[in-house]
Amino acid sequence: MQRPLRARLAGQAPLLTLILLCAVTALLTDRFLSPFNLTNILVQSSIMAVIAMGMTFVIVGGGFDLSVGSTVALSGCIAAMLMPVGGVALGVLGGVAAGALVGLANGFIIAMLGVNPFITTLGTMVLVRGVVFIITGGAPIGDEGLPPAFIAFGSQRLFGVHYLVWVPVGLLATVTYIMHSTPYGRRVYATGGGREAAYLSGVPVRRVIASTYIWCGALAGLAGVMLAARLQSGQPTAGEFYELTAIAAVVLGGASLHGGEGTPAKSVIGVFIMVVLGNALNLLNVDSYWQRVAVGAVIIAAAAADRLRSR
């Protein structure tokens, strides 16, 4: 009976890290807790949170997805290209669908052909980026103006909170429900935690694995649409290094890269750690070179602190 209690406390290492980070920053600068800045942090986290939730599916299922950054760019550009002709709804749908398609390709190659996820998604990361450049000619899309409703979605608020923030809030509830309380979600955990065991128990592991990549792609697609709204254009160069940030956030949230562990909510905490850290360093006007040192050190320290739970 002693174990669960200690385990429960230690399992909260990411949250404690986040709180510590906020407390220290708030002590160092009173700007940190200003409403403007808090909104700021929420908006900055919103897009990465959506990506990280998708990545949670893949990582819990025992996989790995490097292609989300390119997918973000692809879906943003496709959304921006479709909107002038088909309106906002078609744009959003098109963007998400493009993401899901990339995920489908990843899922097929990884689950059905059995190719290593690292190398597969590295391949699609490069390939999709090429496709984005080809369809856009390398230039931003929509500088002539996207529909005002879409621009508003990227900048306006509802009940005092940005639309962009409502998206991950709603998603978090849904995704948590799916992963936690549906048979499908438990299959993802079982597959990631012990593929053979799940297979012998009648779980269609290949389909489950493929589905995680589709989730990840679709959510990266949605994030790409959100980013396009925020940037008021489709940017072919958008999303670089997002893959590493998203994976880092999920792992900082306590997921295991061996699969079977992690929750969407904790991944979102991981995202907050990354965003708050960057925000804090900017507010404190830390030299950008030293910022890198600090980010690197905090990432390692946070992960090391999380190790306590398994000690």
Partner: protein, 493 residues
């Protein structure tokens, strides 16, 4: 009893299955009736698991057909087999380590409620209740939320059994379900199987413990080299005859039984420690105890896996067994219960054998490949490891041969003390006898500490047995007083 007119619950006709050039099954006919226990025996590699994997939808036969209740079936995965009412406990313990016990039991078909008739939601209360009830049949009550990975090998085996029992099935297949179980658990399992049998469930039972087969089976099929060597009805077979039919004639000779000279003390834990172990030269000491009695922890602490403060006298020299390296340096070798802990499955036989003694094969400052190869070949001959190819991956070896490779590791190292945890689980009678002989040879110079759930094995092998009860040594039974019933009473079963 089986009614000759009823239709088989499941049958296989002319099954052929090749893996590359190996013919695992070369035309096997097999059937099982409702309410029948049909045992399947054979040497390691005879094709038993392959046959039941075909029933379970894991493999597809190259030729031949499967019928369930008279209907031909083609399973494209375990899912399809489960849907057809076939539930299997596979030979390898397959649980999801990170998931809780209750959840593991319902992986595959968790109980579901639906919101508004559409949105599915896992019914956790029922999931736990199901798990509790099924485990209670086996008289096992673990923390239902504990991750399966934190359970011992035998406990996981019980969870696997519970997992199969929970599913209502018409055909239950058990592939060596009792390899690590004590008599008490085995008896409970048999009681459950008897009840299921009465309900008309067809049971296929695979075991290398021929005593179990004789006690349980209504019918027995003996496989040899992928073919049916014989089929016998209850009463027409006993353990010795089965062994002969499986192997084509052999008998395990009893222990040398000559009175052993008590040698010098090789290992002595501090006497003030409760349950201190003292082991002498040329002695084979057994550890017996029920599930959770702490016998496996004795091995773990002596091998430095769960080190304790304080020193242990090895040949009179105080040593701290802080980690396996220290234990190995002190001349101790360990054969763990799980073969994946004893072997690097994707590495070759050669690499596995030389691993603990890499430092010994140094010649003029470089690794002496030729010397190592010679030593490996010699050991493979002595232990009769098949196939006799040092570069075979151990994952492609049968269980008995894998076990011999683990022993070879320590023989190559020249250890003087072997810690054995379930040394012959899942190994066929012939291989088991070979391993027993090897261990006896070893005990002529070295000492052995052996933990086994197979009391007959302890009686056969040991000079003395320590009976454990709740972590304490309840009794020490010397060879002269050793028999199964006394041992059984001593461990409190």
């Amino acid at each position: 009893m089986v009614d000759a007119n009823t239709r088989p619950a499941a049958s296989a006709k002319g099954i052929v299955k090749h893996f590359g050039a190996t013919a695992a099954l070369a035309g096997v006919d097999f059937d099982v009736m409702p309410g029948e226990v049909h045992a399947l025996v054979g040497e390691n590699g005879a094709g038993k698991s392959t046959l039941i994997r075909i029933f379970a939808g894991v493999h597809r036969p190259d030729r031949g057909t499967i019928e369930v209740e008279g209907r031909p079936c083609q399973f494209d995965g375990p899912q399809a087999a489960i849907a057809a009412g076939i539930v299997t406990i596979p030979q390898e313990l397959r649980l999801v380590p990170a998931l809780g016990v209750a959840e593991n039991i319902s992986v595959g078909d968790p109980p579901v409620r639906r919101f508004l008739g559409v949105i599915p939601r896992i019914d956790r209360a029922r999931m736990r209740e199901d798990a509790r009830q099924t485990l209670a049949q086996l008289d096992f009550a673990p923390d239902l939320d504990a991750p399966a990975g934190s359970l011992s090998f035998a406990e996981r085996q019980l969870v696997m059994i519970a997992k199969a029992l929970r599913r209502r099935c018409r055909i239950l297949i058990l592939d060596e379900p009792t390899a690590a179980l004590e008599k008490r658990e085995i008896d409970r399992l048999f009681a459950v199987l008897a009840r299921m049998k009465e309900q008309g469930v067809a049971i296929i039972y695979i075991s290398h413990r021929l005593g179990e087969v004789v006690a349980l089976a209504d019918r027995c099929t003996i496989l040899r080299d992928g073919r049916v060597a014989a089929v016998a009805q209850r009463g027409a077979f006993d353990a010795a005859r089965l062994a002969r039919a499986m192997t084509g004639g052999f008998e395990e000779r009893a222990s040398s039984s000559g009175v052993v000279q008590p040698g010098t003390t090789v290992l002595q834990e501090p006497a003030e420690r409760p349950g201190a172990i003292c082991l002498r030269a040329q002695e084979t000491l057994g550890l017996a105890g029920l599930l959770g009695s702490g016998t496996d922890r004795v091995l773990a602490r002596l091998f430095g896996v769960q080190p304790e403060p304080g020193t242990v006298a090895i040949n009179g020299v105080p040593r701290r067994l802080a980690n396996p390296r220290a234990a190995i340096a002190a001349g101790i070798g360990m054969v763990p219960a799980e073969r994946s802990l004893g072997l690097i499955m994707n590495a070759s036989v050669r690499d596995n054998i030389v691993l603990p003694s890499l430092g010994r094969f140094i010649h003029r400052g470089r690794f002496d490949k030729a010397g190592a190869a010679r030593a490996v070949n010699e050991l493979m001959d002595v232990l009769d490891i098949r196939p006799r190819r040092a570069d075979t991956k151990v994952s492609a070896l049968s269980g008995g041969n894998q076990q011999k490779v683990v022993l070879a590791k320590w023989l190559a190292r020249g250890v003087s003390l072997l810690l054995l945890d379930e040394p012959t689980q899942g190994i066929d009678v012939a291989a088991k006898a070979q391993i027993h002989a090897l261990l006896r040879d070893f005990a002529r110079q070295g000492s052995i500490l052996m933990n086994s759930s197979d009391l007959a094995e302890l009686v056969l092998m040991c000079d003395a047995v320590l009976a454990f009860h709740h972590g304490h040594v309840a009794a020490r039974i010397e060879r002269s007083d050793l028999d199964e019933s006394r041992l059984h009473a001593a461990i409190g079963g």
